[in-house]
């Protein structure tokens, strides 16, 4: 495909998005995507696990929001709840709103919502090998987006698949469009996932640990690719990760999750310079640094709480160095604005 066609395509997409943006502004909608007080629980045999407990955040165009947290903190569940692909049962969204350009997606039927997945909001997953269907050619899987969402015929859809594979820089895309996922390397497979996710020019892309399964050099290439695609299309990017290194180079804002709650949200720079929440501080201290070579690496002691038996008070209190009596009783501390534009859910935020 020539550069001209690609440029023309991008121009078309940009024009379409500008129109919709104008409509959005006219309707008084502030953010591209806004999550308000989201609650998710998993109903299991041995009890109800409250996986997400009142998470709120927003995302604008061209913006990258990083959601950071340990395994089990609820970051992937948040993403799946936004996408509407939670496994139900056992997972249920029990409250809150997910507003896409002002429309609450949680009030839609499965079918209505399915129409949003792909053209409006899209997602890539951690393990591209298991996330791609092993029995269909990669081109077929990308082309399926065009065939099912845009009613394109097989050959046109395949041509689009080749265009996308070229866009995510897969060498010899034309020859490899009929190859199967297992015939690609890990990095190439993740590129195919990305090609599929951006195929219908979504407004929002959620990347759930996109580089965790890859080696370091490939990680950087994938992050660069995501950044480049975002600059071209102006989409909002939600980057879910536990890797502070990945976050630092690409994110604009960061939301730290712990036990299904946001504990700190902040612009990226100030957070690294001066974390407000003890948990964020612990996370930053646990990153190996070249200038501290030879010293012992600090780790946060203890384990994340069992979601079936959440501790009273602040969920982080059993692991917190600064916890005092108030932290151990009553409701968890609410998220409050500690500094302009910076929020933390801690009584001693900023003082530690």
């Amino acid at each position: 495909m020539t550069q001209d066609v690609a440029a023309k395509h991008q121009a078309g997409v940009a024009a379409r998005k500008a129109e919709m943006r104008a409509a959005q502004l006219a309707a008084g909608v502030e953010h591209l995507l806004e999550v308000k007080d989201l609650h998710v629980e998993f109903r299991m045999q041995d009890g109800v696990a409250k996986a997400i407990n009142g998470v709120s955040f927003h995302l604008d165009e061209r913006e990258t929001l990083a959601i950071l947290g340990e395994s089990g903190s609820g970051k992937s569940v948040t993403a799946q709840a936004i996408m509407g692909i939670l496994d139900t049962p056992p997972g249920y969204v029990t409250g809150g709103e997910v507003l896409f350009q002002g429309t609450d997606m949680l009030k839609m039927t499965y079918r209505e919502r399915a129409k949003y997945r792909g053209p409006k909001i899209s997602m890539i997953f951690q393990d591209a090998l298991s996330s791609l269907n092993p029995v269909f050619p990669v081109g077929w899987q990308i082309a399926e987006m065009f065939r099912k969402h845009r009613g394109m015929n097989r050959s046109d859809a395949y041509a689009e698949a080749v265009r996308l594979m070229e866009r995510v820089k897969i060498p010899a895309a034309k020859e490899r469009v009929k190859a199967f996922p297992h015939q690609f390397s890990g990095g190439m497979r993740q590129r195919i996932m990305i090609a599929m996710a951006i195929s219908l020019d979504p407004w929002v892309l959620i990347a759930d640990e996109p580089t965790t399964a890859l080696d370091v050099t490939v990680q950087a290439q994938i992050m660069d690719l995501l950044k480049e695609l975002q600059e071209e299309s102006g989409m909002g990017l939600i980057l879910i990760t536990h890797d502070l290194g990945v976050v630092a180079s690409v994110a604009d804002r960061i939301a730290v999750m712990y036990a299904g709650r946001l504990v700190e949200t902040s612009a990226i720079g100030p957070l690294y310079a001066h974390p407000l929440h003890p948990y964020t501080k612990g996370l930053l201290e646990s990153v190996p640094r070249l200038d501290q070579k030879g010293q012992e690496l600090l780790a946060i002691g203890g384990l994340p709480p069992n979601l079936l038996r959440m501790p009273e008070g602040c969920p982080f209190n059993p692991r917190c160095r600064y916890a005092f009596d108030e932290c151990r009783t009553g409701a968890p501390p609410p998220l409050r604005e500690v500094e302009p534009g910076r929020f933390a859910a801690c009584y001693v935020a900023g003082e530690v």
Partner: protein
Amino acid sequence: MGKFIVRRLLQMIPVILGTTFLIFMMVYALPGDPTDGRCGQRPCPPQYVEAFRREYNLDKPVIVQYLLYLAKLLTGDFGTAYNGKTVLHELSIRYPVTIKLALIAIAIEAVIGIAAGILAAIRKGKFIDNLVTVSTLLLISFPVFVIGGLCQLVFGLQLGWFPVTATEGTWEQLVLPGIVLASLSVAYTARLTRTSLVENLRADYVRTARAKGLTVPRTIAVHALRNSLIPVVTYIGASFGALMGGAIVTERIFNINGIGGYIYKSIHDRDGTALVGTVLCLVVVYLVVNLLVDILYGVLDPRMSHD
């Protein structure tokens, strides 16, 4: 692919030699003599016994008998059974009936088994799932001769839906025996399909299919089912051989003139020629079906492709 098929066909030669040899030896090892009881209540006259033994090479060492049999087989001659008819003639009458029976059973097994398995999987834990679990358990628990007799009684005699016996071996007659023959494997197919689909519905790529905005039917029928059917197809293919062998009981229940009855008679008569010829055909059918399954496996699962 071509190479794969040629290699597999060549591999059949030792398998065929091995099975024919083993069966030949087993018949030889059976106690009693082929001429026992051939002359009514009296023992056969020595002249008859001698002539009989000479005619069927029984006077030679067993290994020579086997080699003579093989030599004939290579010319396409399956030999003559003790009743004086050629084995090939018997097989040409009886094989089509048994193949028909097995095909009906396979069709029932595939259609009903897979359909029941899919329903149970997508309604997991609901009424239909429990219904499938209980009914397949019943089918697995009952021996085939009980199911056969019950079906004859209920559907053949009392309700009159099907003929009670299938002596002529027409398609209409073979439906009820086909159902009986399939009863065990249909239960296994349903359970295997259910387990496989339930597992695949939890797979990451099914989550991806949902994230792609596909409809629920497409997510299940295209993305999950294709993967779930890989073990099921293998099982159904392998069960074809078991169905042909299992036909021995079913054919006796419904008085079907298939190979089951012939195998039974050959063992009874200690007729090595007839038995080896019949089993040889069974083995070839079994090997060919397995080859087809392996080829199909490569088509269903590109990771197993033979190219």
